[in-house]
């Protein structure tokens, strides 16, 4: 329980750092650490597949993409944020924490333990046989992403 709480607090802290840090590289790494902690939490809560995907894709692959992209940018393009942003996020975060502390404990008591419905089963069965329509949706999302890249990074020649 203590370890679990420590992991959760660490995850929230690193998420806040990811937003608050001005240096993009540090911010990306904070996000990776936060996601790594989430992956560990998934493992400890008997969701090994979710943990594997979280760590390999979010903490690993996406961080690499972020770092690569940041490496390609030039320094000196400072973006000025309005002062509103500087205090709005901490304010919202504190309000959220207060509401969380007041409400969540009683709410969590009311959520019944995960009911086992027809959709439980071996991971592969669920993914390929139980949620096949989602796979069609996944294909569509990937298509949309690929076409978006093709369209947004197209060369604009005058005659076309």
């Amino acid at each position: 329980m203590i370890l679990q709480t420590a992991l959760l607090i660490g995850m929230v802290l690193f998420s806040v750092l990811a937003i608050a840090l001005k240096d993009l590289l540090k911010s990306a790494i904070a996000l990776a650490v936060s996601s790594l902690l989430l992956g560990i939490i998934f493992f400890r809560m008997n969701a090994p597949y979710a943990g594997v995907f979280e760590i390999s894709v979010v903490a690993g692959l996406i961080t690499v993409l972020f770092v690569l992209t940041i490496a390609l940018t030039k320094s000196g393009d400072e973006v000025r944020e309005s002062r509103l942003v500087n205090w709005a996020f901490p304010a919202v975060f504190i309000v959220f924490l207060v509401i969380d502390a007041l409400v969540m404990k009683s709410l969590l008591g009311q959520v019944p333990a995960l009911a086992s419905g027809a959709e439980t089963g071996a991971f592969g069965d669920v993914l390929w046989k139980g949620r096949t329509l989602d796979l069609v949706g996944q294909i569509a999302v990937i298509l949309a992403g690929v076409f978006a890249v093709l369209a947004l990074f197209r060369k604009r020649d005058k005659h076309d």
């Binding site: 995960l114 419905g117 027809a118």
Partner: protein, 493 residues
């Protein structure tokens, strides 16, 4: 084969970039428009026969094995499919001429068809996660389409749209997770049955609030509307037409209505919240529209206001109110699609969206001016156009259900709507011809043809409103008025 509505546009989208290598314009134009025409004819001709014996549910085999592709088609989804196919086809016909100067037409159509597939999938989905995933399909395609012009404004608008839309998706996923935690299922029918037994007041309240936030953002109801007046005007005209005419209604209003009415069941408290959200959106957005100089921005604010009418109608919860709301959804899709297309014609001819710079364009673009007038009067609710009848139904339903104050607000906002649309018509099309536009010509064939098609539909639906309501709207309203019985009774596999 109702899966065709999802799979056919996806397959065509997949081959379009390859086809684009062979033929840059003709083949992509032909392929995309034929696909949409086929879907429209299929929905119109086969749809009614398919659901004649009640809702149909299909479980597809995949490579010879039975897998869980479940799709459900009932009166409500068929009605939405019709709306998507109709406006989708009109906008895509318009794109034949309009998208010429953007380049990369094959890619444009590919993204467009993926967006249509996403909307169709959402409408046919029979479980909560299916709704989410197809909502994302349509959304991802639409981000790219908003930014398609690649200008500074377009990219900024697309980014803002992306950010707020992601927040909406996060709330929707959170609500779905709560529901799954409570009921152990995602299927509409199973969730509705389980929630009825569970009696989980406060937790269900949180899920409802999250859904309201998420779908409210997607439907751009006030106070969640900040992204829409940037995103919709920045997109190319056919995309503006589809975003305002269809996407906010499918991923906002349809999803919200389906879940609240058919899965959760409409409680009096929820009904009150919807009535207020609708009324506030109507009033605030109409006032904001009044002060706009940018033609497309005025139309965008008007969309928020009109979606307010739809939510107000559905929020009443009576059969007549729901029918009025859905009828207005359909009419607004036609008329707002039409207006965004005509504004696109004007923008292409003059190079500006600022109404103060226009003036007298009716002399140079008579067809565009006439179709624009029909669309404007339809949305403002002038008889005998279609918008009049749907607003009348909503107002009568409000009075019947004992909400006279909301009824008065609806009438007053209608007057306001007429005011700003006449302002637009006068500034842009009537009066002295601004000398700058002496050389302006009427829009090319396909652009004019698609606006004339939509204008005729506005007129036709207005004149034949009784048969339109009984053929298309009533079966859809019946499903919603049936509440959770609609899914628990006949949606079992």
């Amino acid at each position: 084969m109702i899966i065709l509505f999802v799979v056919l546009p996806l397959i065509v989208a997949g081959v379009l970039p390859l086809v684009g290598k062979v033929s840059r314009r003709v083949l992509p134009d032909l392929l995309a428009n034929t696909t949409l025409l086929f879907l429209l004819v299929y929905a119109a001709v086969a749809g009614r026969a398919l659901i004649a014996g009640g809702p149909i549910l299909q479980q597809m085999p995949w490579l010879g094995e039975t897998v869980n592709i479940r799709l459900a088609l009932d009166g409500f989804s068929l009605f939405m499919l019709m709306a998507v196919s109709l406006v989708g086809l009109a906008a895509s016909l318009f794109a034949i001429d309009y998208m010429e100067h953007y380049g990369a037409k094959a890619n444009f159509y590919a993204l467009y068809l993926v967006m249509i597939a996403g909307m169709n999938g959402l409408v046919l989905a029979s479980d909560l996660f299916g709704v989410y995933i197809f909502l994302e399909v349509a959304a991802v395609a639409s981000y790219a389409l908003v930014a398609f012009g690649l200008g500074h404004d377009e990219l900024e608008a697309a980014f803002k749209y992306l950010m707020l839309s992601v927040a909406a998706s996060a709330f929707i996923v959170a609500a779905i997770a709560i529901i799954f935690g409570m009921t152990g299922s995602l299927d509409f029918a199973a969730v509705a049955a389980a929630l009825k037994e569970l009696n989980a007041g406060p937790v269900l309240g949180i899920a409802t609030a999250f859904f309201l936030l998420g779908f409210g953002l997607k439907a751009a109801l006030v106070p969640f509307h900040a992204w829409l007046p940037d995103a919709h005007p920045s997109a190319p005209a056919p995309i503006s037409a589809v975003l305002s005419g269809l996407l906010i209604k499918v991923s906002g209003v349809y999803a919200m209505t389906r879940i609240f009415l058919n899965v959760f069941g409409l409680t009096p408290a929820l009904s009150t919240v919807l009535l207020w959200l609708g009324a506030v959106s109507m009033v605030v957005a109409a006032l904001l529209a009044l002060g706009q100089k940018d033609m497309k921005r005025m139309l965008a604010y008007s969309s928020i206001s009109q979606v307010g009418y739809v939510v107000l109608g559905i929020g009443i919860g009576t059969p007549l109110g729901i029918a009025g709301g859905l009828f207005h959804l359909f009419n607004h899709a036609l008329a707002k699609g039409l207006l965004f297309l005509t504004s696109g014609s004007v923008q292409q001819a003059t190079g500006t969206r600022d109404m103060d710079e226009m003036g007298g364009l009716a002399k140079r673009m008579p067809v565009t001016a006439a179709t624009n007038l029909i669309g404007a009067l339809s949305i403002a609710g002038v008889p005998p156009l279609n918008g009049f009848w749907s607003k009348l139904l909503i107002i009568v339903a409000l009075v019947q259900a004992g909400h006279p104050v909301f009824a008065v607000i609806a009438v007053l906002v209608s007057v306001l709507t007429l005011w700003y649309y006449l302002l637009m018509q006068r500034k842009a099309f009537f009066g002295q011809l601004n000398e700058k536009w002496a050389a302006v010509k009427e829009a090319p064939f396909w652009m004019t043809a698609s606006t004339v098609l939509l204008a005729l539909l506005c007129l036709g639906v207005g004149i034949l409103f009784a048969s339109t309501v009984s053929t298309w709207i009533q079966p859809a309203a019946d499903v919603l008025a049936d509440g959770i019985h609609a899914v628990t009774g006949s949606w079992g596999f």
